[in-house]
Amino acid sequence: MRSGLLARLCVPFIVAVVAVLVPAQTAAAHPFGPPSTARIAVDGDRVTLAWLPAEDDWVALGQSLGAFEDPATGADTTLTGEQKLARSAAVRDYLLAHVGVTQGGRPCAAELEPLERLLAEGARFGFECPEPVVTVDVRIAALTDLHQAYRTVLTSDTPAEPAKVLFTKAEDTRSVRFDAPEGGGVPLAVPAVALVAVLGVLVLLLVRRRAPAPPAASDKPAEPAATPGTGV
């Protein structure tokens, strides 16, 4: 008996302790959650591309490349993380090695602008292609070597086909055409229909739940049953 009572007393405490000790999962924790984004624009034979990962992605990249420690002086507290990333040669080399544009199999000459304001503006690349750009192959493989769930969505400021391109570890190079007519967006009919359908089922379930319950079958018909009107 007492053990049962103790259990009864303990359950809320255990629940509270578990709740306190185990913090809620961060819903947007990378590499899961929203992909990194990138923007591309074309002008003649020049392609500009800005790659914009989230702040925690920059931290992950900087740590993997040792950008936050200075081998000569050890830990430096005078610079911000952003400044340490900006001055790191390893970060620049990594970015140039993992983001690229080719035209007909020939690489477009890449330059990486100084990594100032990288949290706000990202890593800004310029590519000089051999000929005026119509179709190019874009490669964005940054971060996917750290974790396969990292991915980047490229959006074009110049009308392009496809309008949005996804880069993953499995597919890090995609062809983009810039002579396409504008308007080919991402088809969203299927998820929109699914959203309405699931929402409908949820609402139905909740409405049915609120509706008055049918009178319960009583195993003692003569008994004045539970008072009606208090149903859920």
């Binding site: 008996m1 007492r2 049962g4 009572l5 259990a7 009864r8 007393l9 359950v11 809320p12 405490f13 629940v15 509270a16 709740a19 306190v20 185990v22 913090p23 809620a24 999962q25 961060t26 819903a27 947007a28 924790a29 899961f32 959650g33 929203p34 992909p35 990194s36 984004t37 923007r39 989230a54 974790h147 396969q148 769930a149 991915r151 969505v153 959006t155 949005k164 391109v165 996804l166 993953t168 499995a170 991402v186 088809p187 969203l188 299927v190 998820p191 929109a192 699914a194 699931v198 089922v201 949820l202 379930l205 909740l206 739940r209 319950a213 319960a216 539970a226 208090t230 149903g231 859920v232």
Partner: protein, 262 residues
């Protein structure tokens, strides 16, 4: 990265690899079930609530289904917004939206917990002359309660619904990533099916936790303690459960505020 993300990694790898669909579907179910084991989704607070309100098996099932449906709605809505909006605005917006959803969930949970405690305290004051009004272990079946007022308490039903909705409000990052990837690679239908399967997996786990909670609470409740002091203490269990629910809500809120302020 904890071990629970293993199946979610496999799910993403299978989906990216664009191989056979069935393995991905099975992994999605398993990943959903395991995802619901991870912190969040109101398992602790709902368990406390089921104890505090003397919940039934039916409540546990409904709870699992509502959390899973709400989660699916949340993932679909957020992924649609993310892909539909211009990428720059969406990238900034999604994390803030997620954090704000968590704020809403936290506030709802705190409210439910506070109300549960308040209701119990008020009930004790009102019905003081009944002694403690619980422990009605009549032993003829469980869950039907022969029309006992507590079972049909409408606030109990609403509280459980509120907890379930708040538990599903914050989308799973891996389900979100699968859906966004599917939309952007012309595999919307498959991705939507995987997200639904993920939700079904979550429902199985959450219902299971609820059933175990109800079973345990029913078993314990059937025993009447002899010592008066212990009886009195036991009668406070629902109020303590309410406090536990509110503490859980505070933690949601604290996590969300940390995310918003960083």
């Amino acid at each position: 990265m904890n071990d629970l993300t293993g199946p979610e990694n496999v799910l993403i790898t299978l989906f990216d690899g664009a191989g056979a669909f069935w393995p991905a579907l099975i992994v999605a179910l398993g990943a959903g079930a395991l995802h619901a084991v991870a912190p969040g989704h109101g398992k602790s607070v709902t368990a406390a609530y089921l104890i505090g309100t003397h919940g039934r098996y039916r409540d546990a099932l409904r709870l699992g289904v509502v959390v899973a449906l709400m989660h699916t709605v949340s993932v679909l809505a957020l992924a649609l917004a993310w892909v539909g909006l211009s990428s720059g605005a969406a990238a900034v917006g999604t994390e803030a939206v997620t954090a704000w959803l968590q704020v809403v969930a936290g506030v709802v949970v705190i409210g439910v917990g506070a109300h549960l405690t308040y209701r119990h305290l008020r009930g004790r004051t009102t019905h003081a002359h009944h002694g403690h009004g619980h422990g009605h272990g009549h032993g003829h079946g469980h869950g039907h309660g022969h029309g006992h007022a507590e079972v049909h308490d409408p606030w109990s039903a609403r509280g459980l619904t509120a907890l379930a909705l708040s538990g599903g409000l914050v989308p799973s990052p891996s389900a979100f990533i699968v859906l966004v990837s599917g939309l952007l690679t012309g595999r919307s239908f498959g991705a939507v099916v995987l997200v639904l399967a993920f939700g079904a997996g979550m429902a199985v786990t959450l219902t299971g936790v609820g059933v175990v909670t109800v079973r345990g609470a029913t078993m314990v409740r059937g025993r009447t303690p002899r010592l008066r002091a212990l009886r009195t203490a036991a009668a406070w269990a629902p109020a303590l459960a309410g406090v536990a629910v509110a503490i859980g809500g505070c933690l949601y809120l604290a996590t969300a505020v940390t995310a918003l302020s960083s």
